[in-house]
């Protein structure tokens, strides 16, 4: 499976990039997060994050599809 991962705020600082293409054997967004945690040292854990797939918030357990754009959303601070 190939997905596009987007990073923002503290996760972008930790990943050193705003986006990367990731290939691997993961079925859900939760699987993908575990996969990414083996590649980067993130300052936030899954309990601090929301997930979005293709510009929509979804549960961590959501199955991913080929080519999806996935983002793990740190606590927001707009306004």
């Amino acid at each position: 499976m190939n997905v596009r991962v987007r990073y923002f705020a503290q996760l972008r600082d930790a990943a050193g990039t705003g986006a990367e293409d990731v290939a691997g054997d993961f079925r859900t967004a939760a699987d993908l997060w575990t996969h990414l945690c083996a590649r980067h040292v993130f300052p936030l854990g899954a309990a601090d994050l929301r997930v979005s797939v293709n510009a929509k918030y979804v549960p961590f357990g959501t199955p991913l599809g080929e080519g999806d754009e996935v983002a793990f959303i740190p606590p927001v601070s707009g306004g």
Partner: protein, 145 residues
């Protein structure tokens, strides 16, 4: 209609059609860059946004408000990029024949924006350092709200 832009925000009244404004009560919220936060002098504020999600989620928030507080017209805009002190970072406008609904809808939309809109604020301090701002509405768990 929800807008996300790096340019200075429009006057809130320009976010709604003139006909919607002529409906009795209009409530506007503007969030502006403060010069102090947690006792530290702030010189500027940098907002990062996930544009695709912010635009979609902004529209969802407005649609939910319009349904929840009907009949009310709502619109909002959020700015991103680098903002100076006193500049508006977010504006919300709600118009209704009854001011109670306009107040309730405006309040609900700004609360939802602060809880759900994928925008992150980094403060620049007078001493040259900068830091991401911890939000006041920490969320947990795996479900969308």
């Amino acid at each position: 209609m929800f807008r996300l832009q790096t340019d200075p925000l429009p006057a809130p009244a320009d976010l709604l059609p003139r006909a919607d404004l002529a409906c009795g009560g209009v409530v506007i919220f503007e969030g502006r860059v403060r010069d102090y936060n947690d006792g530290r002098a702030v010189t500027a504020l940098e907002y990062e946004a996930y544009e695709a999600l912010a635009l979609a989620e902004g529209e969802r928030i407005l649609a939910e408000a319009a349904a929840r507080f009907a009949p009310v017209r709502v619109a909002a805009a959020h700015r991103h990029g680098l903002l100076g002190l006193g500049e508006a970072a977010v504006v919300v406008i709600a118009a209704s024949a009854h001011r109670q609904e306009a107040f309730a809808a405006c309040r609900w939309v700004i609360d939802a924006i602060k809880e759900r809109l994928p925008v992150w604020k980094r403060e620049h301090y007078a001493d040259g350092t900068r830091a991401w701002v911890a939000c006041g509405c920490h969320h947990h768990g795996t479900e969308a709200p």
